[in-house]
């Protein structure tokens, strides 16, 4: 490459200067042309990353004006309805950001919106990774990092929601404190230590502030870095398609395509957040007034990602036991501690559970189509529906008002459906996946049904099938047929008892369940025979198409895409097509 402009020369010199000190050109030589596969769903993680960057940028701005203090002040800002009201400095400074600093409300709302989008994008990104099996070996660590990042995202959001010290945020903290106090043995002490005594105290906002602006974002930043480094070194997974194998990456190079596409996408996400933050109100803290522990607003709602926990708290029956003078609040512990504990543990361990059940030890760089892993897909759908039902519970008061329903009946409905609907969803999803597998098998053996019926010269009617395109063929044949783990023997040939029989037997049963009813892919010979048959039908139909094609070409030809040197008449084009085939 020859560089010409003075800027490029200076750039080259700088690169050389840096390289002599840190050897950076070795890295650049390997990575500037690094290939990434292209798919819309790979943008979901990017949205999470970019919205996190926007959270950081807007957050830094907010720290310049926000005062994390519960010191009581008399408000004297521009917002007239609260003039002269006693409130914490935290709330007063949040109001100042909203009303007295130009662009302050914009940045505060951008901060809130980007936080909501950050968590949402992580969740949807996680769905993509889950349903395509991208978490399989060698990417299990990155899955765990992702689960931890999601958890940290929830904490970051909740801690930020609590900082303005308005009535809504204080109520959220009150609930968090109530949950903390319910923890057996240490709960009361933990709550006193965290809040420096009783609720609300005067220290908590300042303590939370450090957690919100340093501890959690620091952890997220560190983990995001590791997450991306792993994506980088392990190379991105890709969907099956022509030319794509488990051993290659087919896509576009970092420079210039992804530099422009991903870089551009950052600005798109940033820009949309700015537009939304400018045009759509979020968390109008001035409406709720300052926090006081004896007031609350009706219809108080947490941010969306806490909704499932709030719903769990609402749906749980009111069980509390007193054992030897000690109180155990099951009504709080189960929904707010045990349930999320189980949910996030199962989520984090899922790659290992699945690998153990299937006995699959191979590296997977080619993504699964969700239908080709029916049990996993069904399990994921079941989890999503369970979560969604809890979420509905979190909005039960809003739903009751909007649809004129009784809160009691909504709660009872949820108490039943939480246990009944997810298993139904599991079965239905699994059947749907298997149905799609069967459809794929049909396509491989018989091609697409064209809907065109042909009468042959001897009077027979046939439906014409169309051959699969190269892309479809590659995608459909990417399915790999796994076998369940073999059933263990009770004793070996010499009659020595198998000590691990029960364990292995359980694993065999789970594995059989995981792969049960899998529709086997036809053999290569069968596929070829099928596609050959299809081609034969197409041949029978060919004389009819000559006319139709001619017609199509005329339409196409009348369009804008005619260039000098291309054939100008139908006859010429048909001639050319024939010679190409």
């Amino acid at each position: 490459m020859t560089t010409t402009s003075p800027v490029e020369k200076a750039g080259g010199a700088t690169a050389g200067y840096v390289d002599q000190r840190i050897g950076s050109n070795k890295f650049l030589s390997r990575n500037l042309g690094k290939v990434f596969p292209d798919h819309w769903s790979f943008m979901l993680g990017e949205i999470a990353l970019y919205s996190f960057i926007v959270v950081l940028l807007t957050g830094v701005f907010l720290t310049l004006f926000y005062k994390p203090s519960m010191l009581e002040v008399i408000y004297d800002g521009s917002y007239v309805p609260l003039k002269g009201v006693k409130m914490s400095e935290a709330y007063a400074s949040s109001l100042d950001i909203s009303f007295d600093i130009r662009g302050g409300l914009l940045l505060r709302q951008m901060h809130h919106w980007s936080a909501l989008i950050f968590v949402a994008a992580m969740a949807v990104h996680m769905f993509r990774v889950f349903f395509t099996g991208a978490f399989r070996k060698p990417r299990e660590f990155n899955w765990i990092i992702g689960v931890v990042l999601t958890t940290l995202g929830l904490l970051a959001g909740f801690s930020g929601y609590s900082l303005p010290d308005d009535l809504l945020s204080g109520t959220g903290l009150q609930i968090a404190r109530g949950i903390m106090q319910a923890v057996p043995v240490v709960g009361t002490w933990a709550a006193f230590l965290v809040f420096d005594g009783e609720f609300p105290g005067t220290d908590f906002i300042a303590r939370l502030y450090g957690v919100h602006i340093l501890l959690i974002p620091g952890l997220i930043l560190a983990l995001v870095t590791v997450h991306l480094m792993l994506v980088w070194t392990q190379k991105h997974t890709q969907f099956p398609g022509p030319g794509r194998t488990n051993d290659n990456v087919v896509g576009y190079p970092l420079l210039p395509i992804y530099m422009a596409k991903a870089g551009g996408f950052f600005f798109i996400v940033f820009g949309i957040i700015a537009l939304v933050g400018g045009l759509v109100t979020i968390n109008p803290i001035w409406i709720f007034g300052p926090y006081t522990p004896d007031q609350v607003t009706a219809g108080s709602q947490p941010d969306w990602y806490i909704g499932f926990l709030d719903g769990a708290l609402r749906v749980m029956p009111n069980i509390e036991t007193v054992f030897l003078g000690w109180t155990i609040s099951w009504n709080i512990l189960i929904p707010a501690m045990v349930l999320p504990g189980i949910m996030f543990t199962v989520l984090g361990l899922y790659p290992f559970i699945e690998a153990w059940v299937t006995g699959d030890k191979g590296e997977h760089n080619l993504l699964d189509r969700p239908r080709n892993a029916p049990t996993r897909t069904a399990f994921g759908m079941m989890a999503i529906v369970f979560y969604a039902l809890l979420w509905v519970g979190g909005a039960n008061d809003i739903i009751a008002v909007a649809f004129d329903l009784s809160i009691n009946s909504i709660i009872w409905f949820l108490r039943v459906t939480l246990f009944v609907v997810p298993p139904i969803v599991f079965v239905v999803t699994r059947r749907a996946c298997l149905g799609l597998q069967r459809r794929d098998r049909e396509k491989l053996l018989h091609g697409y049904e064209s809907g065109r019926v042909l009468r042959l010269p001897h009077g027979e009617f046939i439906e014409v099938h169309q051959p699969l395109s190269d892309k479809d063929l590659a995608v459909i044949t990417s399915k790999t047929d796994h076998l369940p783990l073999p059933a263990p023997e009770k004793a070996d040939a010499e009659g020595v008892r198998n000590k691990h029989y029960r364990w292995q037997s359980m694993r065999h049963k789970l594995s059989s369940f995981f792969y049960a009813d899998n529709v086997p892919k036809p053999s290569a010979a069968e596929i070829e025979a099928g596609q050959h048959h299809v081609a034969h039908e197409a041949e029978l139909e060919a004389p009819l198409h000559e006319y139709e094609d001619a017609d199509e070409i005329r339409q196409y030809h009348g369009g804008v895409l005619h260039h000098p040197g291309e054939p100008e008449t139908n006859a010429e084009q048909i001639e050319q097509q024939r010679s190409q085939h």
């Binding site: 662009g103 109530g178 230590l193 609402r314």
Partner: protein
């Protein structure tokens, strides 16, 4: 622009594999490729170029407009915009210009990538994550050498004392967390459970209306009515303590029903002529409650919809709360104002381990 483009010569898939000897270029994937309009039509390419440049240009314009809006629009100006309603003019203008200027950079860059940069997919090979055996062996050998040279395996006493030291050294850091809670003078010698179990209420303490701090006469409260109330000395306590902790426990509600509607109470005659005093803090996780339905005498928590029947000892009728709302026995003093006849008989607010 260079005269060599990876696009050229690769449109037909057959030529795919022989191509790559040029540095910086990767082998093109063996996939049929359809040229875009901008690949074949110079006019379309020029149009795309103009589109991209216009977006960047507009972005600059909006950045400039942002500065203009920042300076020119007063922060208190309210304008009416259909759909959005009455909104702050500065907020809307700043949000729109900032968003547009940033968005257009992205839109331009992506249009550039999609229309003018090559859209031919290239191939790179992957390598297994597992390290070559030689590397693994060398790492293991290094470990053995380290073990041998340090004598970690031989010096049992060193090993055990080191492990002991490493286990103990975080303890001071944990111990120091103890003073995260420094009890106030009044809290000295009390456990968290003791503190949670006491409120300001005691015998003959006047009940005053929240907000006005005016003492309450029974006739101030009509049948079917509800008011929020606090102890008379709350204001002074808040001045002294400088926090809202006392309020969080002492807040009560007063409701009045006709005495024959009261089915049961937590203590005999704890009402005064049909006026009942209950804690305002939900026994579930501590939200203040004030949604009262006078016909059914039900009190509903807005946070998790626990419902309590105030005509029936404040018992839970629905929802996740496990315990009734604590009742405060009340009467009137010599001057005819409502007073507490005793403190709460049980801790108010959410449950805790030591509560019993």
């Amino acid at each position: 622009m260079t005269d060599i483009s990876p696009r050229e010569g690769h449109h037909d898939s057959t030529a795919a594999h022989e191509v790559e000897a040029r540095p910086g270029y990767l082998p093109v994937a063996d996939i049929p490729h359809r040229p875009r309009a901008t690949d074949t039509d110079p006019k379309a390419a020029r149009r795309a170029e103009r589109q991209v440049a216009s977006m960047f240009l507009l972005s600059m314009l909006f950045a400039a407009l942002f500065v203009v809006a920042y300076v020119a629009i007063d922060k208190t100006t309210i304008i009416y915009i259909p759909v959005f309603g009455d909104v702050g003019a500065s907020q809307i203008a700043l949000g729109f210009t900032l968003g547009a200027s940033i968005f257009l950079i992205g839109a331009g860059a992506i249009q550039w990538a999609k229309k003018l940069m090559p859209d031919v997919e290239v191939v790179q090979m992957r390598h297994d994550q597992v390290s070559p055996q030689a590397d693994t062996d060398e790492a293991a050998a290094n470990y053995e050498r380290g073990k041998d040279e340090s004598g970690f395996a031989r010096f049992k006493m060193i090993r055990r004392t080191l492990i002991g030291a490493l286990v103990l050294f975080p303890i001071p850091l944990v111990v120091m967390l103890r003073d995260l809670w420094t009890p106030t003078a009044a809290e000295q010698g009390q456990s968290p459970a003791d503190i949670l179990s006491t409120t300001l209420w005691h015998e003959d303490l006047r009940i005053v209306s929240d907000g006005t701090y005016a003492p309450v006469r029974p006739e101030d409260l009509p049948v079917g009515g509800l008011i929020s109330a606090v102890p008379e000395d709350l204001r002074e306590v808040e001045e002294v303590e400088g926090n809202l902790n006392a309020r969080g426990k002492a807040a009560i509600i007063l409701v009045r029903m006709s005495p024959d509607e009261i089915r049961s109470q937590q203590g005999d005659g704890w009402d005064y002529q049909g006026i009942l005093a209950y804690s305002k803090i939900c026994t579930h996780v501590g939200c203040p409650i004030a949604l009262y339905e006078q016909r059914t005498h039900h009190l509903l928590c807005p946070c998790h919809q626990s419902t309590f029947d105030l005509a029936d000892s404040g018992n839970v009728v629905f929802g996740p709360a496990a315990r009734r709302m604590p009742q405060l026995p009340i009467g009137v003093d010599a001057e005819g104002y409502l007073v507490a006849r005793a403190g709460f008989a049980e801790p108010v607010g959410p449950s805790f381990w030591e509560r019993g």
